[in-house]
């Protein structure tokens, strides 16, 4: 898989928040084999340097994808992205502009606006968006080369709420890397996203809040592999009726 010209092997992108401890996080990263970890940046963290935590992350050797979690306006998101670029020395930014504080759904208007401005400033934007095709088109128009639609609201663990919309999105953007971001609860949800032909899955809470985050990290990575392999193997079509899997011809004649 290529993201902005970079070859990535692991199709699991992992968030770094809410783990019982950084030790759990680093072990989960290792167990999952992920190459990309998202990090949220808050203003006080930037000023006071959350250096301890970031040093721990850097030492894992993963690629950092800073995000603008918690930003509610385009301006706020752009400022956060600029701080992130300075701190992490990467043009990558996961762009999140929250539109509603209850379900944390993206404000797609501000998202498109911020994506266009950040692209103009040389960022490589990973937009957290809905499964709306028109918004997807606008984001590509704004310069995004990746789309990250939600599976369900952030942190809800509900799985893919609207697989039909995600399927339509895959069909509509056959050449664009698509990553399901948010809503994954169980390994089967992640596998389902991959079976739909998605390129990768980004998740955080499902691993961080599991009773055994390291075990769940491994489970998610395995499910994503299985889902991808299943997609590549061209699954059979579902049928209305039973079809015998054993041929009828050549049955033994029991006299």
């Amino acid at each position: 898989m290529q993201l902005y010209g970079t070859d990535i092997t692991s199709r699991l992108l992992l968030g770094s928040a809410q783990y019982p401890s950084p030790a759990h996080l680093t072990k989960a990263i290792a167990a999952s084999g992920t190459e990309i970890v998202t990090v949220s940046l808050r203003r006080e963290t930037a000023q006071g340097s959350g250096a301890g935590f970031w040093d721990i992350l850097r030492q894992t050797g993963v690629r950092i994808l800073p995000n603008t979690a918690g930003c509610h306006t385009a301006t706020e998101a752009i400022t956060t992205a600029q701080m992130a670029r300075e701190i992490f020395a990467t043009p990558w930014i996961k762009l999140e502009v929250i539109g509603h504080s209850d379900n944390l759904q993206p404000d797609v208007f501000a998202l498109v606006e911020a994506a266009a401005e950040l692209t103009r400033q040389g960022f490589q934007v990973f937009p957290y968006t809905t499964d709306d095709l028109v918004v997807g088109d606008r984001l590509l128009g704004a310069g995004c080369e990746v789309l990250m639609p939600w599976g369900a609201p952030i942190g809800s663990g509900q799985g893919l709420r609207n697989p039909d919309a995600l399927r339509a999105m895959r069909a509509h953007f056959p050449e664009v890397p698509l990553i399901v971001d948010a809503g994954i609860g169980c390994p089967s949800d992640a596998a389902q996203a991959m079976e739909l032909g998605y390129d990768a899955v980004l998740l955080n809470t499902a691993v961080a809040k599991a009773g055994d985050p390291i075990g769940m990290a491994r489970a998610m990575a395995t499910a994503i592999d299985a889902g991808r392999m299943g997609f590549n193997a061209d699954p059979m079509e579902a049928r209305e009726m039973a079809a015998p899997s054993t041929p009828i011809l050549g049955l033994a004649e029991l006299v």
């Binding site: 680093t26 006071g48 340097s49 959350g50 809470t205």
Partner: protein, 322 residues
């Protein structure tokens, strides 16, 4: 004589355990009073080992279990337990909390009203941790200070520690590698209209809140957990989240006065588990994270046992001074 750097909760508890065993102890404290130890001063004062078990290592639960009786030796401890609640729409959080913790029982709306009449009709169910307790961390710090002074410990305030001390309890101010700081922000409110008698925890996926009664209509509300080394005052966002969650607990808390806000940096190791660390001639007691009052007694006990074993053993003593 044993020298200790830092008169926060870790330094004082260490001094107590050492002095109790007959050691002569001197504490060096850069601040001019107990209030100059922000991690201890702005703490919640919950003695809640079983609740902490939700995310903390089982070691934390085990080490913390003795803290309630330890503190009760010198300071008032309120043994009313902890009541864990959740807004109706986050009820799955309560099931998860129950699954991951021990030593609790379910209570229904009726029992919640009996336990905390102010909360009547507000919550359908909750989890009660009957054996947990809380204290006023400032009062406790003062009481422990007086206790150790009574045992002959000399505390030199406004005196930076010498380069070489036997025990270093300075938290983030020590130069121990592998420590990081977790910023915690809190608010103190005065709420004469709401009477709460035990620690309440409100579960919420984003802002787990606790409210600890301090007596005389005063309550402490905490606390954020931010991976940050910033000392600046509490942010509007954090205050908004803390006070918003308090309002969910009881709308009448909206009428309370905010009488203080504060921020402290909690020292933590990568696994958030505190430990004794030997570095050269110095034993570090550090990494108490959000468990200073809960775990300082157990760590101080370990420290004292280690010290007294070693000083009885001549060769170990020589090795240390060699």
């Amino acid at each position: 004589m044993i020298t200790i750097a830092g008169a926060g909760v870790a330094g004082l508890a260490s001094a107590y355990e050492l002095a109790k065993r007959g050691a002569e102890v001197t504490i060096y404290e850069a601040g001019s009073s107990p209030a100059d130890n922000p991690s201890s001063w702005f703490a919640g004062g919950m003695l809640a080992p079983w609740c902490e078990g939700e995310v903390a290592d089982p070691q934390v639960v085990r080490l913390g279990a003795g803290a309630i009786n330890w503190w009760a030796q010198f300071t008032p401890v309120t043994r009313n337990g902890t009541l864990v609640l959740t807004p109706p729409r986050d009820r799955a959080e309560l099931d998860r909390f129950a699954r991951r913790t021990e030593h609790h029982r379910w209570v229904d709306a009726g029992e919640i009203a009996t336990l905390e009449p102010a909360l009547e009709g507000r919550f359908q169910r909750g989890l009660l941790f009957e054996d947990e307790a809380h204290l006023d961390p400032r009062r406790a710090l003062m009481d422990l200070t007086r206790t150790v002074q009574g045992l002959g410990v000399e505390i030199r305030y406004a005196t930076p520690a010498p380069d070489q001390v036997d025990v270093d309890c300075r938290g983030m101010a020590s130069d121990l590698p592998g420590l990081r700081s977790i910023r915690g922000e809190m608010a103190v409110i005065e709420a004469p209209d709401v009477q709460i008698s035990r620690t309440l925890r409100l579960l919420h996926p984003r802002i787990p809140l606790y409210l600890v009664p301090r007596g005389d209509d005063i309550y402490m509300i905490g606390a954020t957990m931010v991976e940050s080394a910033s000392w600046k005052p509490v942010t509007v966002r954090s205050l908004l989240e803390l006070l918003g969650a308090a309002f969910t607990l009881h709308p009448a808390l909206g009428e309370a006065s905010v009488i203080e806000t504060g921020a402290g940096l909690r020292p933590a190791f990568i696994d958030n588990i505190p430990r004794l660390k030997q570095r050269g001639e110095t034993t570090h007691v550090n990494g108490l994270y959000r468990h200073g009052y809960l775990l300082a007694p157990a760590l101080a006990g370990q420290l004292a046992r280690q010290f007294f074993q070693e000083s009885q053993d001549e060769t170990a003593c020589e090795r240390r001074t060699a």
